[in-house]
C-alpha cells in the first residue's frame, strides 16, 4: 500500500518546522554565537561626512591602547592591493577609503583587539582630518552640469552617471500613444529603504598558516558566490577557502553583497594569524550596507475610451549611492524593472532607465524581491490606478479589461518575458468578494457625507521569481542555476544538501518534504544541510525567491535520480525485469501483483549489501537544475483603509491577500511568508524609509529614526489561496517569499489615494506619513518624497 503522503510529511503537509527545535531553546548558531580559540575582535571606524577628501589619518592613539593588536587603514589595504574590491555589478567599491569618503558611514579604518570594547576604544582614538566636499543627495543634483564628480577614482568617468539603459519597442509604443484616446501620466518616487534583518552582518575569518586554509563564518545568503569573490579579491585559491553561513537572523537581500568588513576581517586574520570576529552594529548596518529601491519614475499609459491599454512608457532614474554594487543579473542594469505590466495584455511598452552615483550608501539589493521587481510592480499598480481614475473607470473593472486571460498562456509580456500560467480574474474576484467591494461605493459615499474618509486599494500583479535560466541570468558571469545532493544511507535515512541558504524560510523542513514526496522516505528521516561550501554543492544562494523554483526543483530532480537507481535494485530484488516494476509512494511492486513489493528502505539496504551485478554500490547522487523559465506567481492584494482627516493618520480596516504560488509544499510556511511580506509592504507604505538631509546625513541610522512596525500597529491579514501549478517546475511550485512585499505597497497606497480622491490629489510618495497625508488633504496637492537639496545661502 502506498503511504499517506501527509502522514510522512510530504507535499502539502503543514509540517512543524524542525529548525524551531533549536531556535525556541535559544540554541541557534548565529555568527556572533561562534567562538574560536584565540579569537580577536574587529571594529570599523566610519566616515561622519558624506563627501570629503581625507587629508590624514593618525592611528597612533589606537596603537597606544593596551589590547589593540592591529590597526588597518586604506593605505595598508592598498599596499596589498585590497583597498578596492569588485562589486557584483562590475563596478569597484572601496574596502577602506584612501582618497576620499563618498558616503556617510563609509569604512575608513579598522581596529583589531582582544575585546570588542577595546576595539571600539581604538576607533575612538583614531584622528582623521577631512576636507569637506559638496554632497550630492539625489539624481537631479547628480546630473546637474556643474555637479562635483563623485567617482574621480575611475578613469573615463566624466560625470555621475552609472548607466543609460533601455528595453522595449520605442516605435510601436510611440504609435500606440499617437492612437490613444486618453493618456494618463504620473510621476513618483519609491523611497530608499533598508532590508534591516534584526541580525546585522558579521564574519569570523580564520586563516590557518599551517594548512594555508581560510575559513570564514559569514552572514551570507550566497556562500558560494562569496567564495568565488574572496578567491578573486584576496587571491587565495578557491579550494583553500571555506565559507560557512551559520544560522542567519534574517537576510531579505541585505546579506547578498560582499562588504568591506568581511574583507578586512580576512586580511586581519592573515596578518595576526588569529581568528578575527567582526560584528556590525545596527547603525553600521543601516548606514553602509545594501539598501533597496530609491527610484524615480515618469510613467505614461495610453488607453482607448473602453479601457483597453494600448501602450506604456516608463522612465526611471535610480540612485545607486557611491558605488554601483547592486546585486542583480548582469544583463539587466535596472534589474527586472521591465517585468512591469506582465499580468496585463498590453501590446507595446518602452522603458528607459538612467542610474546615477550619489553620496549615499551603495547597495541596490533585491530587498525581499526579485531584482527591482518591487519598484516595477509598485509603479505598475500606481499607474494603473491613476489611469483608471483619469479614464473615469472603476479600478477593478479597468483591471479586468486588461488582465491576461486564463487561456492565453504562455503569454508574451509587453517587455518580452514569457509568463507561464495563472487564473488572474479568479484571484481578483475572490479578493473583491472578500473585501466587500460590491457594496463599498455606497459605504464610501455615505461615510464621506459624515466626514469619514474610506478607501479601497487594489494591487494585482505577477512577478518573475527564480532566476535563471542560465542563458539570460548570471551574476559576474556565474550562471544562475542551483543544486542538490542526496545521500540515502543503508537504513533508508538520508542527508540532503543544497546550494541555497535558508534565512528563516524553513528549508530544513520543506526540502525534506520534497524528498518525502518523491521517494516516500518520511520527512523526519531526512536531515537537510546548507551553507558550508566545503560540503554543499555549488549554488547561487537564496534571494529573489529563487530557492523553491531552482534549488527546490533540484531537490526533486536528485530524488528522481535516486528513485531511478532504486527501481533497478527493486527489479533485482523482486527478480523481474525493470519494465515490470511499478512505483507507488514509498515502494516498488510487480505489475499485476501489488502485494509483491519492496520498500524504498529495502532498496537502500540492498544498495549497500546486495546490488545487481555490474551496478555501482551506494545510493547517492546530485542534480544541477537550470530552470527553463522563471516562475510567475500571481497575487491580488486589496486593502481597505480609513484616513483621519484631522491628523492624516490612516488605519487598515481590512487587508485581503489572494496568492497563487502554484503547488504549496508546506502551506503553513507559505502563509508565514505571505504575512511577513505583507508586513514589510505595510511598513514601506506607512513608515519605513531612509532619507538624507541636504548635507548627506543619513536620517534612519537607527531604529529610533528608521521606523519598523511592531505587533501593535501591524494590521491583521486575511489570506486566500488559488493553485495554478507551474507547468515547467518539477513539482508545480512557484516562488512566494516576496510576492506580498512586492505587490502589497500599492494596495495600501492606492487605498489611501482612493480615500482622498475627492480632493484631486493624485500622488503622495511613500511612506504615507501623517504629515504628508494631512498636507495633501489640506492643500489638495501631490506630495513628493524627493530629499531636500542644499541651496546657496
Amino acid at each position: 500500500m502506498a503511504l499517506d503522503e501527509i502522514k510522512i510529511g510530504g507535499l502539502g503537509a503543514s509540517r512543524k518546522r524542525v529548525e524551531d527545535n533549536r531556535f525556541i531553546r535559544g540554541k541557534g548558531n548565529y555568527v556572533d554565537d561562534v567562538v574560536l580559540p584565540g579569537m580577536l575582535h574587529m571594529e570599523i571606524l566610519r566616515s561622519p561626512l558624506a563627501h570629503a577628501r581625507i587629508k590624514s589619518i593618525d592611528v597612533s592613539g589606537a596603537w597606544a591602547i593596551p589590547g589593540v593588536r592591529l590597526v588597518l587603514t586604506g593605505e595598508m589595504m592598498a599596499a596589498r592591493n585590497l583597498a578596492w574590491m569588485p562589486t557584483l555589478s562590475y563596478d569597484t567599491q572601496a574596502v577602506l577609503a584612501t582618497d576620499k569618503v563618498r558616503f556617510q558611514g563609509q569604512e575608513v579604518a579598522c581596529v583589531i583587539a582582544d575585546d570588542p570594547y577595546v576595539a571600539k576604544d581604538g576607533c575612538e582614538a583614531i584622528v582623521v582630518d577631512y576636507e569637506p566636499l559638496p554632497p550630492i543627495v539625489n539624481p537631479t543634483q547628480a546630473m546637474a552640469p556643474d555637479a562635483p564628480l563623485i567617482r574621480d577614482d575611475k578613469v573615463n568617468q566624466v560625470d555621475n552617471k552609472v548607466f543609460d539603459w533601455e528595453v522595449g519597442d520605442k516605435e510601436g509604443t510611440d504609435r500606440a500613444f499617437a492612437e490613444a484616446d486618453v493618456v494618463s501620466e504620473i510621476d513618483m518616487h519609491y523611497p530608499r529603504s533598508h532590508p534591516s534583518p534584526i541580525e546585522a552582518c558579521g564574519s569570523i575569518a580564520d586563516f590557518d598558516r599551517s594548512t594555508s586554509k581560510l575559513t570564514v563564518y559569514m552572514t551570507t545568503q550566497a556562500p558560494h558566490i562569496i567564495r568565488a569573490a574572496v578567491s578573486l579579491v584576496a587571491e587565495i585559491p578557491e579550494h583553500m577557502i571555506r565559507i560557512i553561513a551559520p544560522d542567519l537572523g534574517g537576510g531579505f537581500g541585505n546579506k547578498v553583497p560582499v562588504y568591506p568588513g568581511y574583507v578586512a576581517s580576512i586580511l586581519a586574520s592573515i596578518l595576526t594569524e588569529r581568528p578575527v570576529k567582526w560584528i556590525e552594529d545596527k547603525s553600521g548596518n543601516l548606514i553602509s550596507t545594501g539598501f533597496g529601491r530609491d527610484v524615480y519614475l515618469k510613467g505614461q499609459v495610453a488607453m482607448r475610451n473602453d479601457g483597453k491599454i494600448l501602450g506604456v512608457r516608463m522612465h526611471t532614474e535610480s540612485d545607486h549611492g557611491a558605488f554601483f554594487s547592486d546585486a542583480q543579473p548582469s544583463k539587466f542594469k535596472i534589474g527586472l524593472m521591465h517585468s512591469a505590466f506582465a499580468c496585463y495584455d498590453i501590446p507595446n511598452a518602452h522603458l528607459t532607465a538612467t542610474g546615477v552615483y550619489t553620496n549615499k550608501a551603495p547597495g541596490g539589493v533585491a530587498y525581499r524581491c526579485s531584482f527591482r521587481v518591487t519598484e516595477a510592480m509598485y509603479f505598475q499598480e500606481r499607474m494603473i490606478q491613476a489611469a483608471a481614475d483619469d479614464l473615469g473607470m472603476d479600478q477593478a473593472e479597468f483591471r479586468r479589461v486588461n488582465l491576461v486571460r486564463d487561456d492565453d498562456f504562455p503569454h508574451r509580456t509587453p517587455f518580452g518575458f514569457l509568463t507561464d500560467s495563472g487564473q488572474y480574474e479568479k484571484c481578483l474576484d475572490i479578493g473583491l468578494e472578500a473585501i466587500g467591494y460590491a457594496d463599498f461605493k455606497q459605504e464610501q459615499e455615505e461615510a464621506r457625507k459624515r466626514g469619514r474618509l474610506l478607501g479601497i486599494g487594489i494591487s494585482t500583479m505577477t512577478e518573475p521569481l527564480g532566476a535563471g535560466n542560465s542563458r539570460e541570468y548570471d551574476i559576474l558571469g556565474i550562471k544562475m542555476f542551483d543544486s542538490a545532493e542526496l545521500r540515502v544511507h543503508m537504513t533508508g535515512k538520508a542527508i540532503l544538501r543544497t546550494g541555497a541558504k535558508t534565512q528563516g524560510q524553513g528549508h530544513e523542513t520543506t526540502w525534506a518534504q520534497i524528498v518525502a514526496h518523491e521517494l516516500g522516505i518520511p520527512a523526519d528521516d531526512i536531515v537537510v544541510e546548507e551553507g558550508d561550501t566545503d560540503t554543499a554543492p555549488f549554488g547561487m544562494g537564496t534571494y529573489a525567491s529563487r530557492s523553491t523554483p531552482v534549488a527546490g526543483a533540484a531537490v526533486a530532480m536528485v530524488s528522481r535520480k535516486i528513485r531511478a537507481k532504486a527501481r533497478k535494485i527493486a527489479a533485482h530484488l523482486l527478480e523481474v525485469s525493470e519494465e515490470d516494476v511499478e512505483w507507488e509512494l514509498g515502494r516498488f511492486y510487480v505489475r499485476g501483483a501489488q502485494d509483491r513489493g519492496v520498500s524504498i528502505q529495502e532498496c537502500a539496504m540492498a544498495a549497500y549489501s546486495n546490488v545487481p551485478d555490474g551496478m555501482e554500490p551506494g545510493l547517492e547522487n546530485n542534480a544541477y537544475y537550470d530552470p527553463p523559465n522563471l516562475t510567475w506567481p500571481f497575487a491580488c492584494y486589496i486593502a481597505k483603509v480609513e484616513v483621519d482627516p484631522e491628523t492624516g493618520v490612516w488605519d487598515v480596516l481590512k487587508m485581503v491577500a489572494v496568492d497563487d504560488c502554484g503547488v504549496r509544499i508546506n502551506p503553513m510556511i507559505v502563509e508565514g511568508q505571505i504575512m511577513g511580506g505583507l508586513t514589510e509592504a505595510y511598513a514601506m507604505a506607512n513608515m519605513q524609509f531612509i532619507t538624507f538631509d541636504e548635507d548627506g546625513n543619513c536620517i534612519g541610522s537607527n531604529y529610533m529614526d528608521y521606523l519598523l512596525p511592531t505587533a501593535w500597529e501591524t494590521p491583521g491579514f486575511e489570506l486566500h489561496e488559488v493553485v495554478t501549478p507551474c507547468p515547467h517546475h518539477p513539482i508545480g511550485a512557484k516562488g512566494i517569499g516576496e510576492c506580498a512585499t512586492v505587490g502589497g505597497p500599492a494596495a495600501f497606497v492606492n487605498a489611501v489615494m482612493d480615500a482622498l480622491k475627492h480632493t484631486g490629489v493624485r500622488n503622495i510618495d511613500m511612506p504615507l506619513l501623517p504629515d504628508r497625508v494631512y498636507g495633501a488633504l489640506t492643500t489638495g496637492s501631490d506630495i513628493s518624497g524627493m530629499p531636500p537639496v542644499k541651496t546657496e545661502a
Partner: protein
C-alpha cells in the same frame, strides 16, 4: 561631603573591576567585570548564554530581552553591575531538561518564528505578560510585545502562539490554585 571628588585619572590598563553575583536561570553566578560591561554581553560572552541576542544596542528591537526579577528588560541597555544581586531569566531558563515551556511549544505549533533571531526576546516578553495576565486579549498580547521587533513573521502567528500558550497554561494550572485576576498591582 562634596558632590564631586576629584580622583586620579585611570589609565586604560588599570580599568576598575567590580565583582558581581546574580542568579541566572536559578543558578548563582559570579564574575569580575568592567563596570561598563552590558548585561547582554555578560550573558552572551561571559556566561555563554548565547540565546540572548543583540539586534540594535539602542533599546528598540527587544532581541536582548531577559527577565530581571520577573520584569522584561532590554539587556543591551542594562549594565551588568546593575544586575548585581538580582534574578535573571534568559531563554535558556524557560525549558526544563525534559519539558518545553508552553510558550516555546506555542511558538513552534503556531509557526511564530522564521529566522528565530527575535524569538528568545519575544518569548520572554510573552512570559512576563502571561505571568501577570493569564487571560490576555489579542490587543493585550500585541501591546505587551510592542517593544520587540520581528522582521520575518508579521506578528500574526506570534500573537496566536502567545494565546495558544495562555490557553495551555490555564488548562494545565491545577484547579485549586489561587486565581490570579491579572489586575493592576
Amino acid at each position: 561631603m562634596t558632590l564631586f571628588e576629584e580622583v586620579p585619572v585611570t589609565t586604560t590598563d588599570e580599568i576598575p573591576v567590580r565583582r558581581v553575583e546574580m542568579r541566572v536561570n536559578g543558578e548563582t553566578r559570579a564574575a569580575n567585570i568592567e563596570p561598563r560591561l552590558l548585561l547582554a554581553h555578560l550573558l552572551r560572552n561571559g556566561l555563554q548564554l548565547t540565546g540572548t541576542h543583540t539586534g540594535c544596542d539602542t533599546t528598540n528591537c527587544g532581541a536582548c530581552t531577559v527577565l530581571f526579577d520577573g520584569q522584561p528588560v532590554k539587556s543591551c541597555t542594562v549594565f551588568a553591575v546593575q544586575a548585581d544581586g538580582h534574578d535573571i531569566t534568559t531563554v535558556e531558563g524557560l525549558a526544563t531538561a525534559s519539558e518545553l515551556h508552553p510558550i516555546q511549544e506555542g511558538f513552534k505549533d503556531e509557526h511564530g518564528l522564521q529566522c528565530g533571531f527575535c524569538t528568545p526576546g519575544m518569548m520572554l516578553s510573552a512570559k512576563a505578560l502571561l505571568d501577570e495576565n493569564p487571560n490576555p486579549t489579542e490587543d493585550d498580547v500585541r501591546w505587551a510585545l510592542s517593544g520587540n521587533l520581528c522582521r520575518c513573521t508579521g506578528y500574526q502567528n506570534i500573537v496566536k502562539a502567545v494565546l495558544w500558550a495562555a490557553e495551555k497554561l490555564r488548562h494545565d494550572a491545577p484547579a485549586d490554585a489561587p486565581a490570579d485576576d491579572g489586575g493592576e498591582a
